[in-house]
């Protein structure tokens, strides 16, 4: 249960950063937090009371393992999150080069 709460909390924090932090790097951090929250959510979805890691070595019975599928999904999502973060940061480097600021209020040459 605590995992659910943590997951929801991470997502909420991420959104909080996105909505209220002006600094773009902080916004990207928010995105990362959200990603983590989602990952946690996925993993905790697959948890079974008393389950263990889904590696059927050393006599682990299939009945005892947690759902492996969410974990596989998380694996994928982690990489995607990393990719997005990397790309976002590199774009931010260029934003900074052009605008000399990372304040999202000021990066709005294009509007309406």
């Amino acid at each position: 249960m605590i995992y659910y709460m943590a997951a929801a909390f991470l997502i909420a924090i991420g959104i909080y950063a996105l909505m209220l932090k002006k600094n773009m790097i902080k916004m990207v951090i928010g995105l990362s937090l959200m990603d983590s929250g989602v990952n946690l959510l996925l993993i905790s979805l697959g948890y079974i009371n008393g389950g263990t890691a889904p590696i059927l070595l050393n006599g682990v019975k299939p009945q005892e393992v947690v759902d492996p599928l969410p974990q596989a999904l998380v694996l994928t999502n982690v990489v995607i999150g990393v990719s997005v973060t990397a790309l976002a940061l590199s774009v931010i480097i260029r934003v900074y080069k052009h605008y000399k600021t990372l304040n999202s209020d000021k990066v709005r040459d294009m509007k309406w």
């Binding site: 709460m5 209220l20 979805l45 948890y47 009371n49 590696i55 059927l56 070595l57 492996p68």
Partner: protein
Amino acid sequence: MIKKSIALILIAILFVAIFFTLANDLPFGDNRTTTGVSDKYIYHGVNDTGASNLVTAIVVNYRGFDTLGEVTVLFVAATGVGAVLYNMGRPAGKKRKKTEASLIVRTGSRILFPMMLLFGAYIFVHGHLTPGGGFQGGAVIATAFLFKYVSDTRYHIDHNKFTATESVVGMTFALVGIMGLLLTGYFLFNFLPNGSPGELLSAGIIPIIYVAIGIKVGAELTGILDNMMEVEQ
């Protein structure tokens, strides 16, 4: 102020919604696998794929296509970072404007670098047996290169070699898939024998793919790091 309170209200709504939906409708720790597809993975996974690490079985075999996509995502991102930061790097041979690392770091990195590479390789080679896999191994390899960057302000990778490596291993993954298609009519089909679970050389194409992924991820992440490090401030 209004903005902030709106934001907080919205966040609260989201939080409550996500949390209570989960808590009410998906009680934590309930065994739901009997209703879904996971049963198949859990009970037949080892036989089907030969990988005792079920996550790996899923990642590389059952849902190998996702992984191909995932690799592509990383590849796209690496290419994207390259494209985004194109022409922003320092001129060749010029030092990065960073303070020199201390002697301890330099020496330590020199010692640790091959060990980290080896560790990374271990992780992805044993991906089908133990926790971990190509991505994790690749990340470790990239960390090794990061070490290099941190310790040596002049250090930079040979782009051509990295690109070639990346290409080759990437193509390997794609080729494995295409070969599966050619041999059996199914893309990414496991056309190699499964072997006996628990052994290193088992689980069909999984080790090949994980090796490819490991090298590729390592190269890509290093490339990303390189691109970012090289940006002239």
